[in-house]
Symmetry: C2
Subunit: 627 residues, 2 copies
Amino acid sequence: MPLVTFLPSNAQVEISSEENILRAAIKAGLHINASCAGTGVCNKCLVYLEEGEVKGQKLPDGGWKACDTFPETDVRIRIPVQSQMDKRSLTRALPKKATRWIQSHSGISNIRPKPVVEKFAIKLPPPTLSDPASDLERLQREIKQGKLQDITLEVDAQTLYRLPVALRDSNWNITVSLMEGIRHDIRRLIRIEDGAKKDEHFGVAIDIGTTTVSAQLLNLHTGEILSGASDYNPQISYGEDVISRVEFARKGDGLSMLKDKIVNCLDGLIDEITSKVSCKKESISILSVAANTVMCHLLLGLNPYYLRAAPYTPVAVEFPPVRAKELGLNLPEHTRIFLAPCVASYVGGDIVAGVVGIEMHKMPELTLFIDIGTNGEIVLGNQDWMACAACSAGPAFEGGGIQHGMRATTGAIEVIHIHPETLEPMSLTIGNKKAKGICGSGIISLLAGLFMTGALDQRGKYRRDTGSARIRSGREGWEYVVVDADATAIEQDIIFTEADVENLIRAKGAMFAGYLTLLESVGMSVNELEKVVLAGNFGSYLDLEQAITIGLLPDIAREKFFFAGNSSLIGARAGLLSWEVNRKFIEVGGMMTHFDLANSPSFMEHYISSMFLPHTDMSLFPSVKLG
Amino acid sequence: MPLVTFLPSNAQVEISSEENILRAAIKAGLHINASCAGTGVCNKCLVYLEEGEVKGQKLPDGGWKACDTFPETDVRIRIPVQSQMDKRSLTRALPKKATRWIQSHSGISNIRPKPVVEKFAIKLPPPTLSDPASDLERLQREIKQGKLQDITLEVDAQTLYRLPVALRDSNWNITVSLMEGIRHDIRRLIRIEDGAKKDEHFGVAIDIGTTTVSAQLLNLHTGEILSGASDYNPQISYGEDVISRVEFARKGDGLSMLKDKIVNCLDGLIDEITSKVSCKKESISILSVAANTVMCHLLLGLNPYYLRAAPYTPVAVEFPPVRAKELGLNLPEHTRIFLAPCVASYVGGDIVAGVVGIEMHKMPELTLFIDIGTNGEIVLGNQDWMACAACSAGPAFEGGGIQHGMRATTGAIEVIHIHPETLEPMSLTIGNKKAKGICGSGIISLLAGLFMTGALDQRGKYRRDTGSARIRSGREGWEYVVVDADATAIEQDIIFTEADVENLIRAKGAMFAGYLTLLESVGMSVNELEKVVLAGNFGSYLDLEQAITIGLLPDIAREKFFFAGNSSLIGARAGLLSWEVNRKFIEVGGMMTHFDLANSPSFMEHYISSMFLPHTDMSLFPSVKLG
């Protein structure tokens, strides 16, 4: 029987040569989009053959339809991101929460635009015999009039080519774009346009996540957000998490492949947000990017290999502005990319931008900033000091390492309620489709529900004596049946095993041990926290009570919690609109003391104590009453 | 009969279709190299067909052999520069002169190298868990140790790609190249090399003249000149002087053609000077270029059109440093080109570099700097002030507008002595070949000789009563026969007409009127001059007494005269070796007050008075005794 190996997960399954690849994926527990039930009409189940022989339908781009492709030998099949996930679910509305959103508390939204690239409309006196100064001298003279008289002006050689023609075609009436230099009193002339074009000035704020990429188009003249779009990071096809991408980058032309993927993704998003509002790409001056350290390296094409292992050294944590065109983006010569600086290999520019985005650097209160994703980064501090760490929580909250875990896409169970007596579940899926698996928020509500009903004990083991048929001893130990096979889209029971529970306890334990370690390092305790800010997409869908119940969040007054949404995009937007915020990134990044938890004995101690639901030390969780 | 039009001169001649193109050129009075007397073996008489039909030998590069190509219709034929001139004559030794050379008086030759790009060998401590700073931070930390601690460091994004590999391959032992930024306390990291490479550091000093291009390779570590080479500026094929090149640049892709020509020429010279001493081009950090304003524009690909007519506006007179590669040069990414700044459309970076090269900006004495070429630029002043002007002398001293004038190449008469009684000439040619024409130094010695023997009067007219057969009434008025047809290489009498004399008087008159106008503008006279520096190739071959005799140079004490040779190359070299000199170019360029002589009534008055040999006011020329 042919052995099918799926990439990037390396999941393997044997099938007969009468079975198609879609069937193989279902057997392997992998998801491939196929809304036509394998009848060959929806064209969504695209896969790529990397090794071996198949027969079936080859598509013009070299891909194959999984539902109509049969292995003839052992094969290696790559599932591209568009076949795994459904982009529509990226746009689901944020839940309404009683708890407050941080934006209303932050002044960032009121920034008067003063971006890194400013435009000035200039009218010049034409040359005469008594004033025959060169075009450039004449322009420099006018630029230095008024408020810019103390600056030093650098000139992009490219702008010189346009200068004589622009001046004369426009009747000495032009608009110049000046970019802030390495110091604020240095400006660089990066663009010259005919006529008064001061208000045709746009920028793009970008958050490059390991999973999701979001972009917003802003009017840099008014500060208005004009449009937005999101997509899955297409690098997913080459590795689900940062480590596997670093490994992929190391091999052959892996680095340039990953770079091209993200560049194409950004090109697509920029096409989308500009065409939505008929903005010319020519008018985009700046891209402001917030991304984790690995994503920054991959975007710039920098070898991320040495940040993978001790001593975890990135090539750089501050990046010079780069021409978008130099990276291969389909944007004009003058467009520059600014990346928010990183702190360390696993605390990146997304965190720095997020912290600045919510204005934590202006908060007098002791604040804990939590971004729960694959990794889980935390920042503790206030306007005077900050400490940060990556918790290595693992991808459990994104569905990784959970048997039926999946990303928050169509068909994912996002909420589960467990009946306290019958232990029967009531669940809702994203898009109200038949369930394919459970996403992060569903997993937490399931874990919290099973724990609160007493179906799970503090060690994360199922009670053997509930009498419920839903709790059973399965192939891999005790498990809870969330959805019966016939009610699912995957033709098998969706279950939640003790191994899943253990993974989740490890993940939440790593987060909680992180909080305690940072607090301890400054001699403080959980109760002294004055503010907790939950950042990131996952945080937005989190149920506060459930998260506290399982020990993922500290059990403190609920009004201390704030939701930030995509704080890293908020930060990217703030950096786009303001050169001061852009400089603040560097300052704040520089003030963050980084703790390497992996090598901290104190962290290990706290981690072990956190391996209970909610914690071994129940005094830390006064409001969690065990049933 | 087919009409042959030769480009770039537009000279026309009708020939029968049995006559070849070489014959047509001889008839038209044009020179094409052909050392085999038209036998078809030397392959030097390459021409290009631009319009019309010919039959003959087409060469692989699309050119034709003039000696074996016959017009079938009216044709337009372009003579490339290599077919017009013989590169060997560029290397003729400078004449030995009693008069002093300025170099011995200038300190430039003793510069301790401190170039715009400096190399530092750096040994870094490898990262550890307790010091896991990024590669770039680690490098910045080391760079800022010691004497560079107050600098701001900019980083070329390109250097980041190399950084992680270079550090580890070299065992944390690298060499960095830092370029001075827009301010001296800003440095830009432009290159990273494995190991200690401080002494592999080279630069090229380049003088781009309208006619000749010279380059020298320097060791930037020791300051030593390693090799040199010269070539004709291949743009000559598209226009002999700057104005005709500006016109050519205006049409179609003329600008990019002219740019490509000079870029190819520089590539060729750099190949030559590096291979002579086995220097790797990879190790070239800087090109330091001195060139007139039009040549600067054409090298950078800037449209020079608006400097052609009033108010004579160049695109720029100061140019930002440019990557050599960006201009299309076959040099590595890190190599930068620095151009000496210009003053105005017709006083260029060659003059600024020349003035700094001879250290006129340090001279306390009232000094007149004279560069006699096509245009004739002059600078008057001292360490405290400078005034400059272009004299529009025309190309007479380069042989232009003189019937048998030619450039100083093989076969050109370079010295002529006239017997005071018989008026018989005695002449010498460059390379001791049969004469083809007369070059600048020959023309001046001829004019001075004819004047001193009384064959020419003060108005530049031949005495009709000498009785010498050499003075005769020719087709275009009275003329002197310099060489009889049978003794020439061009099969016709080489003559010197009254029209030629008039052109020369205009040219020398323009120069002299320039001196007087600048002197007058500061209330001074010729006698107050303390130093006169003769720059440029032409100046090097000038006979001082003859030049004074005809009124080209002021009649002052001979010990006040100095010869500078190629001062613009000397300046380019100084700028290459020293960032301070490089900055001095801008300062000196900025301190030069430019006089537009064409619109000066005072100049016109002096010009008219200078239309005699040597001058209407003989009191200005006390040592010239009329016979």
